[in-house]
């Protein structure tokens, strides 16, 4: 055999194999990256991979960004509330840098005049990082580069998704992709979640967390460096930023960590209002100062996830302009929140938040949470 035949066979056969895979992936395009679907819409329930295609191919005037807190709201329902075609693009456990990348992609499409953006404090805890490992963030789908077609089309992962799309066309839709298996909301579930967190949050883990927080950019800095430039770059787009109503136990957990987490959270709230005043197209809505909601543990399924009524009500209120805050109002709300959490915490932790018990399930049936907090 001629020596050139080896290289020739090697190159041509490998190219043929890869081209066949790429062509198949392109035709099916399971993430709708290159084209709208020819038959039914296949939606990936992996948000990090699925959102870019949705943002590129679907029509919408309002885009909703955020984390698992907004996941359960169907895009169609959001559209009904807001009165315009809307698209919900949540990222489960999404970090702020990931959300910013998604926002940039949405804005580049030029379809949305309004961005509704959930400002979830824990999203800011990883600084400027994006997800890795199992939650790896596919940056190549967000910022098209020369690598994008290679990584998307020349990929076993995409091939598997293509197969899934062929086998079960339309099985995952915009309406069902985020449905949660658990739809039970109760004080018991919240206290159970508290116990879980407190018991998993070992001293070693706390130390690592504190060290990590020293290394990453602060939430306030991220607001300035990641969000503000985006608001300024797209003056024609309205950014409605909202603080979701986590349960009071969520705030208490942050306070009980004893590492200034709660102080940082409060500072973050104020910084958000401050930043929004530096541009004309950003508004802030504060639902964390809705004490009737945050102290009613029966509205939550864990420390921070509320039920669909609370979720929908936020957008109803935003549309009406309710709960919109300026800098002064935010500072007052923050002061109130701090007071309420302290007062509520006394029921469990006495005067020392750090001495909160690891298990609270035995306190099930404690007096109406909302009223006990307010009585202090």
């Amino acid at each position: 055999m001629k020596k050139s035949s080896y290289s020739l066979i090697f190159v041509s056969l490998s190219m043929l194999t890869m081209l066949a895979v790429a062509a198949l992936n392109y035709l099916i395009d399971p993430l709708m990256y290159y084209h709208a679907p020819w038959t039914v819409i296949n939606v990936s329930n992996d948000h990090r991979h699925g959102n870019p295609g949705l943002a590129r191919q679907l029509d919408y005037r309002i885009a909703l960004l955020g984390t698992s807190h907004i996941m359960e709201l169907e895009s169609a329902r959001l559209g009904e509330i807001m009165g315009e075609p809307s698209l919900n693009l949540p990222i489960n456990a999404g970090l702020i840098r990931e959300q910013v990348e998604l926002a940039k992609l949405v804005l580049r499409q030029g379809k949305a005049h309004t961005i509704l953006w959930e400002m979830n404090f824990p999203s800011f805890s990883a600084g400027d990082q994006v997800g890795t490992g199992a939650d790896e963030f596919p940056s190549y789908l967000y910022k098209p580069t020369v690598e994008t077609p290679f990584r998307y089309l020349l990929s076993f992962d995409t091939l598997l998704q293509s197969r899934k799309a062929l086998q079960n066309p339309g099985s995952v839709t915009l309406d069902n992709r985020n449905q949660q298996p658990v739809r039970e909301y109760s004080q018991e579930r919240v206290l159970r979640a508290w116990d879980f967190y407190m018991q998993s949050w070992t001293p070693a883990l706390r130390r690592i967390w504190i060290e990590y927080q020293k290394k990453v950019e602060s939430p306030e800095l991220l607001l300035e460096t990641q969000l503000l430039p985006l608001f300024r770059q797209y003056p024609e787009v309205e950014f409605k930023l909202f603080l979701p109503p986590s349960s009071v136990m969520f705030f208490l957990l942050h306070e009980s960590m004893g590492n200034q987490d709660f102080a940082h959270l409060l500072a973050f709230r104020n910084a958000l209002a401050r930043i929004s005043e530096q541009t004309t197209n950003a508004q802030v809505y504060d639902f964390q100062a809705d004490f009737d909601t945050i102290m009613n543990l029966d509205l939550f399924r864990d420390l921070e996830h509320y039920n669909e009524d609370v979720l929908e009500n936020m957008f109803v209120q935003m549309r009406q302009g309710a709960n919109r805050v300026d800098r002064a109002r935010m500072e007052e709300n923050t002061r109130q929140l701090k007071m309420q959490v302290h007062a509520y915490g006394k029921m469990f932790c006495g005067s020392q938040p750090q001495s909160c018990p690891d298990t609270l399930l035995d306190r099930l049936g404690l007096p109406s949470a909302a009223s006990s907090g307010k009585q202090q």
Partner: protein, 511 residues
């Protein structure tokens, strides 16, 4: 740019090869192909961080100047000391400043810090290469090449980032030699084959083992105590991951260079088949061991002198070898542990006498003991802190109890029931993934212990420069540049390329 990235494989590499072989055909300046390689190597390095191109330029420029001075001057020793000091200061600043200050600070409590210093890629590798060159000039064992050749020797992209640590005596003659037109296609074929083997090891094997090892070491870093099986499977996975990752990288480097007609030195030779720890170090990261032996251990006195002196030389060499891998005490401890292993082995050799030849059982025991010892040492190498390493050691030695993963008994509920009734815990272990993990671990071990390595497989083709202490024997299954192997390797390459969606860095990049 990673070797296992699409940009490298589908854009950069064809461009380099096209330019190199295209320029060779031009009847003009015959250095053009090498200049092209130099240009592309600089581009390759600058792809990560342009500002460190300046560092690479300063380092190679100054070393070249000092080398010329050593070559010409009478006071060779003075210039040599200056040259080595420059290299070590550079390395100390970029790699160890934070570590040194952290330790000084913990001693004196003065809040000393040095700020964030990004570790320039490959600094450990190109520093060692240049020190070796300076030392050899001072010993009159090396000459001064042209600056182009020297710059290419330092920055040659196949080996720049993570080795092999090449020696000037191996590279310069190859750069100076006129390319052998007769072997062009043969070189391409061998290079493609080696590159494919390396890519497969990295993308398909190493990255798979990473899925099993990473959660275990991360859990230990969080302070979680692991069960016995989790700890063993995690440590075993890391042992295989590191081998496939680094040897895969080395195979790719050797393959890439070969496509350009350059033969690089062997860096791995089935290290887990070693029957003792000395043999392990003759087979693992061979070019680093060679550097440490020739430029540290032997100048310290090597095997000459008293037993205490030799022991000191071994320990110091291994401690420095450990520190070379990273600025952390865990690496130093890892090196120290290997030093102790080597001392124990010397003591054993001394006791058993010269005439002893191990039989098959003895050899099997030797391989097993060496493998387990190396595996236990990798815990220190991988763990993020001593605390995490101690947690893993506790689990490895059964201080956290035995529990079997439920996944292991999928489809065999009766076995699980029987074990439970015997008082053995069968639970859903978070960091152990049952049968698939067991299957991968078995496959990994079979490859490591029984399969011929890439160089035995290609033995008839002189795939790499083989050190004297190793003899390269042709394996029973051997490669030929025929159609059947072309199909096999084309499919292996396609498999690897399609699995490259998630780009992962090579473990040795951080060193």
């Amino acid at each position: 740019m990673l070797f296992n990235s699409h940009v490298f494989i589908f854009l950069f590499l064809p461009l380099v090869l096209g330019g190199y072989y295209g320029l060779r055909r031009l009847p003009v300046y015959d250095r053009l192909p090498l200049l092209w390689l130099l240009l592309m190597s600089v581009f390759f390095y600058g792809w990560w961080e342009t500002r460190y191109l300046l560092l690479l330029a300063i380092s190679s420029g100054l070393n070249f100047a000092v080398g010329r001075l050593i070559f010409r001057a009478d006071r060779k020793r003075l210039w040599l000391v200056c040259g080595i000091a420059f290299n070590l200061i550079l390395l100390a600043y970029f790699k160890y400043a934070g570590f040194i200050m952290e330790n000084l600070d913990s001693l004196f409590g003065q809040n000393w810090t040095v700020g964030d210093i990004t570790l320039p890629l490959a600094i450990s590798f190109f520093t060692f290469q240049q020190i070796a060159w300076l030392v050899d000039i001072s010993r009159s064992q090396a000459g001064v090449p042209t600056f182009y050749n020297y710059a290419l020797f330092v920055s040659f992209f196949p080996q720049l980032i993570a080795g092999p640590i090449v020696h000037h005596a191996e590279m310069m003659p190859q750069f100076e030699r006129r390319p052998d037109q007769q072997r062009l296609l043969s070189n391409i074929n061998i290079g493609l084959t080696l590159f494919t083997l390396g890519l497969f090891k990295k993308v398909v094997l190493a990255d798979q083992f990473a899925l099993y090892s990473t959660p275990v070491f991360e859990a230990a870093a969080r302070g979680e105590l692991l069960t016995l099986l989790e700890a063993w499977s995690g440590t075993m996975s890391y042992t295989l991951q590191l081998y496939f990752d680094f040897s895969g990288y080395s195979d790719m480097a050797v393959g890439l260079a070969r496509m350009l007609g350059i033969i690089l030195p062997l860096n791995f030779f089935s290290p887990y088949k070693a029957v003792n720890i000395r043999q392990f170090w003759q087979r693992w990261h061979i070019t680093l061991s060679r550097f440490l032996r020739d430029y540290l251990y032997i100048p310290l006195g090597g095997n000459r002198g008293s037993a205490a002196g030799v022991s000191f030389n071994i320990l110091l060499t291994m401690l420095i070898g450990g520190l070379w891998h990273g600025a952390a005490w865990t690496f130093v401890a890892w090196g120290g542990l290997h030093g102790l292993y080597l001392l124990l082995h010397r003591f054993y050799e001394h006791c058993k006498g010269d005439g002893y030849i191990a039989n098959a059982v003895g050899r099997f025991a030797g391989v097993l003991l060496t493998f387990v010892a190396v595996m236990l040492a990798w815990v220190l190498f991988r763990a993020e802190s001593f605390a995490a390493a101690v947690l893993i050691y506790k689990s490895l030695f059964g201080f956290s109890g035995l529990a079997f993963p439920e996944g292991l008994f999928t489809g065999m509920p009766a076995v699980a029931l029987m074990l439970r009734e015997a008082g053995i815990t069968v639970v859903n272990l978070t960091h152990l993934q049952g049968l698939p993990e067991l299957a991968w671990l078995t496959a990994g071990c079979v490859i490591c212990f029984f399969a011929p390595n890439a160089y035995e497989f290609l033995a008839s083709q002189q795939p790499a420069l083989i050190p004297a202490q190793l003899s390269l024997r042709q394996s029973r299954i051997c490669w030929r540049d025929n159609a059947a192997w072309a199909v096999v390797f084309a499919l292996l390459f396609s498999w690897s390329a399609l699995a490259m969606n998630r780009l992962s860095e090579f473990l040795y990049f951080q060193f």
